[in-house]
Amino acid sequence: MAAVTDNIILVAEADTAPATDAAAVTETGTEIHAAAEHEVFPPFDPSSFGGQLLWLAITFGALYLLMSRVALPRIGSIIDTRRTRIDGDLREAERLRQETEKAAAAYEAALAEARRNAHAIAEETRSGIKADIDNRRADVEGQLAKRMSEAEARIRTEKDKALANVGAIAAETAVMLVSRISGSASVEDAKKAVAAVTKE
């Protein structure tokens, strides 16, 4: 503050001094020259304070109102909107991802189920066919065995029957042979002879 007062005093002196003196002073020192021209160092010139303060109040007040009422809420809302939008999109993406995973799991389960079913069906068919084949084979074998035993039985009876007839035929043949050779022969004797021969 002291410097300012000094400057003012200097200026006052320069102003009141005769024109020639002022010119001399101007030439001798630039400091005094500057002081004479500008009266005081402008940033410390109290005469400009009032006007500057008034304009600062007007302009800064306007700036504050514009910022707090219009500009900042708008930018804030833009940023908020974007943030909620991004958050929402991320949540939606997460939801879709989980859905996809669920669908994939369901698909896997269905696939495994189908595979299991296919195995079961194949197994069932295979065992069914095998059982069928076994049944039929058993059937066929049974029938064959039956027929075989029947045939054997028949052969046996035929053989028995044939063997039983052999004596009679031999007796008849013997009667015929004897009657040709000696004229007569009884059937009873022939049978006895045959029986005697066959016993030997």
Partner: protein, 251 residues
Amino acid sequence: MADPNKVDPIHQFQITNIVQFGDGGLALTNSALFMVLTVAVIAVYLLLSTQKRSIVPNRVQLISEMLYEFVAKMVSDSAGTAGMKFFPFVFSLFMFVLVANMFGMIPLFFTVTSHIIITFALAMLVFGVVIVYGFMKNGPKFLKLFVPSGVPGYVLPIVVPIEVVSFLSRPISLSVRLFANILAGHITLKVFAGFIVTLGGLGFLGWLGALLPLVMTVAITALEFLVAALQAYVFAVLTSMYINDAIHPSH
């Protein structure tokens, strides 16, 4: 020395009337004009770039959103969610200081923040907001701000005055930091640029000699862009921290 070669680094801070409304009344000065331009550029950019409200932002809208999120993070990191009440305030301060500083980097443009009264008024606004809100929210407990917890009682007579002084000096340090950085930067830039002109008027050797200040000017210009952005950031961060004190006075 010829007049065009005269280097006057102070002239750029001169406030001149552009339009005078009535005699001795309100005047539109160059300072006022650039305050209006600063606010207009901020408002027009933020409003136009976000007009479409697109979910997928284009480049212009993205810059607005990045500024928003940058300051929002700054405030919530320093002052927590309770501090978000002051987000529009901090955002306005940050944008105002940033754009005003950046306007200052354009040749022939007036730098609003090179005047102590502007930065001091902004700092006092922060100071006032902290005090008023601090007492409104915490009542007399706000005074705990000056009594750090966990400090033994016999040290308090020393600590409390220090805390009070540091609290009271906040608006000064906050305003002088911004003002001095911008002022010094602009003066340095002007002085070095003036050397180029002065040396350039001295013939061939002068031209060679002018290369050095030319390089310096380019480098300082880059530095000043950094300072312009950094000081806006520092101002906003400190504001957030002071607001945190108003919300949570016991530290």
